[in-house]
Amino acid sequence: MTSTPAVDDFVKSDYEHGFVTEIESETFPPGLDEDVIRAISARKGEPEFMTEWRLKAFRHWQGMAKPTWAAVDYPPIDFQAISYFSAPKRPEDAPKSLDEIDPVLRETYDKLGIPIEEQKALAGIAVDAVFDSVSVATTFRATLAEAGVIFCSISEAVHDYPELIQQYLGSVVPHTDNFYACLNAAVFSDGTFVYIPKGVRCPMELSTYFRINARNTGQFERTLIVAEPGSYVSYLEGCTAPQRDENQLHAAVVELVALDDAEIKYSTVQNWYPGDAEGRGGIYNFVTKRGDCRGARSKISWTQVETGSAITWKYPSCLLRGEGSIGEFYSVAVTKGRQQADTGTKMIHLAPNTRSTIVSKGISAGRSTQTYRGLVRIGQRAAGARNHTQCDSLLIGDRCTANTLPYIEVKHPGARMEHEATTSKISEDELFYCRSRGLGEEDAVSMIVNGFCKEVFNELPMEFAVEAQKLLSISLEGAVG
């Protein structure tokens, strides 16, 4: 990076005020070239290694083609028409009041019992008083610091822990990985960094919800979690309230590293705005999530409940590199209206005695399309590897589509693989049984569907599970008939 005094001043002044006070910063004009990348990096006051990394990714990205293999359909994205500096929204661009928000969205907020002030924040309306989670967050930080846990924005981490960032960023999802991950590496806005020291059991569930300055991290979010040997962390991402964002394209990257005997539990509730009844205005969610079980006997579990987005393209995966390491994927995906989801997982067994479990529950309603795409690969060194896959699809109505596409590659003869897949319609018998006991049709459907998803909800932290069930019921309202 060619450092000029002007840039240095700029960086410094910005940094003095700290990350949180960037509120009034301008938004870059649309377009992407090396100057934009440099400007993003400068704007964030990044050290040279970061700028170089972004540039390397950008140069690589220019030679890449947009992937077309997923079973999703959307108009071409003009990448030069996007603004790549995701500064917080300018007040004049944000909706002025809740009256300007899609009434359906507001109804959902009400049903979820979200307070008005918080509704405004979620809808991107400027709010003066940030609700009282500030104090909660402060208390959290103190407890975490005591345990030696680092939990901060990735921008802060780049400044405060450059060695850790240099060592781990891009070590699981290299910048060359795929089109969207590569773009993310070049332009990522912000995200979360978590570091759990050796032998530490993180004293609380970590949630972005409590990280005030993680709001508006924008469309190119990046998360990195490193669990040192013998440590444990449970991380919750997202919240059940539908989130709106005028940026249609979201291309996040999540990297997890688990060293010897470490365990990372990563739970997601994704409820991005799916668009109106025709799917207009919904978020395109193209995410790369990968966990690296780098150490022996390490364990990574992905649990996700996906109900939002117009288009979802997402395959949380595990690289099982440590001997005896364990990868798990538990997923509930709901699509309705015009939503499209192509989602699943990859379990790559590279070491002996590695185990993986996949439980995927897909629920399709309306005119939605849902594809489960799962890869289980047993490498040559993976003696004694085992996988259990269970993939169930539930159809509501007869205008939706569900596909199950399992890919299995076995290079070691001793592997034990079990695969079960079912596709069923919501059963008339079950519905009638519930209704004959006095339950309304929608309650009956939601009860049956929640039952269908039970195995996955069981994996979620308690509070999150309760919320997820409520969310599922709300998502399915009006989906019957």
């Binding site: 519930c434 209704r435 006095g438 039952g451």
Partner: protein, 251 residues
Amino acid sequence: MLSVKGLRAKVGDEEILKGLDLTVRPGEVHAIMGPNGSGKSTFAHVLSGRDGYEVTDGAASLDGVDLLALSPEERAQQGLFLAFQYPVELPGVNNTYFLKAALNSIRKARGEEELDAVSFLRLIREKLKILHLDDSLLKRAVNVGFSGGEKKRNEIFQMALLEPKLAILDETDSGLDIDALRIVAEGVNALRSPERSVILVTHYQRLLDYIEPDVVHVLYKGRIIRTGGKELALELEERGYGWIIDEEHAA
């Protein structure tokens, strides 16, 4: 209480109920017997509003309310209960959760207050005792992994909890051993009251030894062809249905 007049119903193109008449007064227990395939379950399903049946003629009302105009849940809320011949499994749906939702939905429709968790548990424990059912049932998924007998007992347990005005028990006795049969019968008898009526659909006199009916009907080819007192059931036990059917054909 229940009044059914000239009820006709089709499944697809086939007419199954062919002009069925039945009146059940408050507090009465009626038995409906008849050979397999005569339409007993169909009748129970049509009364409770199951999809897939087309009512082509006739009327059915409960305490003056036209049942045929209501959805299944509204019928349940009106006080109708069907104990299924084949209770349905609901994978992953917790029994307690299910029962609480059902009871509160019915209470709400009746304008009663919903029960909180504590009062609900107290009530449910009391009802479990009547059916000699174990607490552990509450933690399990509805009917999943239940033995045949447990499923049937669970139906009666639900009935005890929901306290319907009219309960239809569709072959609740089949597949029960003698002890389970006695427990189920005790459960039903405990619920007998001057305001509550029961229709027992059964093949066997056996159940009627324990739950004494006021009226016995024979359903054949979608119509009630004979009605009598409890001695009719004894006669059927001895002589089978043939003679009644012959007499019906002769008439």
